[in-house]
């Protein structure tokens, strides 16, 4: 029998890997991948609990909404990354420091 604890632990592992990627990587695209991993961990939780709601499908419906929102976020973020590359010729968040000085 697959229990809820299994799903929650797997999603905790994925969340922490995503957190590590977001903090440590120096490339904007890799940071974006980390954010996607964190979102996927959250969706896994929604789906795992959604099993206990057969009539209203609460968890699964909001998992679908979360997937759509993630897709929308990624599209805008990639457009921003392309714009930043066009202007600064780099996509490393650490090197874009025009406002700093």
């Amino acid at each position: 029998m697959i229990t809820l604890t299994d799903f929650l632990l797997i999603s905790a592992v994925l969340f922490c890997i995503g957190l590590y990627i977001v903090i440590s990587k120096s490339n904007a695209i890799q940071v974006l991948i980390g954010i996607e991993l964190i979102l996927n961990a959250a969706i896994l939780n929604l789906v795992a609990f959604g099993r206990y709601d057969k009539l209203n499908n609460n968890g699964q419906t909001f998992a679908i909404f979360a997937i759509v929102l993630a897709a929308a976020t990624t599209a805008v973020a990639l457009a921003i990354i392309l714009n930043v590359y066009r202007r600064y010729k780099t996509i490393e968040p650490d090197k874009i420091d025009q406002l700093k000085n």
């Binding site: 905790a12 994925l14 922490c16 206990y52 699964q60 679908i64 997937i67 805008v76 714009n83 996509i91």
Partner: protein, 182 residues
């Protein structure tokens, strides 16, 4: 140990290992393609949570849409990134990565503690759902029910998300357009 449980653990192992490789690899192309495998493994896990429609949505939207977008952005962001990636040595966790690794591990410890203390298998409302018969079983078809619920109970978030998608479409096209030379 039934076959289902073994398959579940195999799927979980594939997902977590490929996610670790995404974090470990210094090569951007490799980490993107390993992320591909992570998403497929997650879709498999959704199937084990008896959410087949969400699993198919995951494959169609994430693998078909988001990953192709990421690959396009990677290829459009130029030669210098590619060249720099070749010099970057894949492998050892550099000195600068230790604080983030420490933070991630500590956060994981906290999360595991919270999950084990909360005892999700003994939650009251899941037991009530089980006794009432409100639990999805292996033989149920959930897709038609999801469709009905989307059009009745969750109509407002559905419409809000459709408007948001329209805004994102316009906004992303506006952001990505070439400016200047009119």
């Amino acid at each position: 140990m039934s076959l289902t449980v073994i398959l579940f653990y195999v799927m979980a192992f594939i997902t977590i290992t490929s996610a670790l490789f995404v974090a470990y690899s210094g090569n951007l192309v490799r980490s993107i393609f390993m992320f591909f495998i992570t998403l497929f493994g997650l879709a498999g896990l959704y199937v084990f949570a008896l959410a087949d429609f969400v699993a198919i949505t995951q494959i169609v939207i994430y693998v078909g849409g988001i990953l192709v977008l990421i690959l396009f952005a990677f290829m459009l962001s130029g030669r210098e990134t590619l060249d720099r990636l070749k010099q970057q040595s894949a492998g050892f966790i550099g000195f600068n990565d230790w604080p983030s690794l420490l933070l991630a591990v500590l956060f994981f410890v906290v999360l595991v503690n919270v999950i084990l203390k909360a005892t999700p298998d003994a939650l009251a409302w899941t037991h009530i759902a089980a006794t009432v018969g409100n639990v999805i079983s292996n033989t149920d078809t959930t897709t038609s029910n999801i469709g009905i619920n989307l059009m009745t109970r969750y109509l407002l978030p559905f419409e809000a998300i459709s408007i948001l998608l329209l805004m994102v479409l316009v906004g992303a096209a506006h952001l990505a357009r070439k400016e200047g030379t009119e």
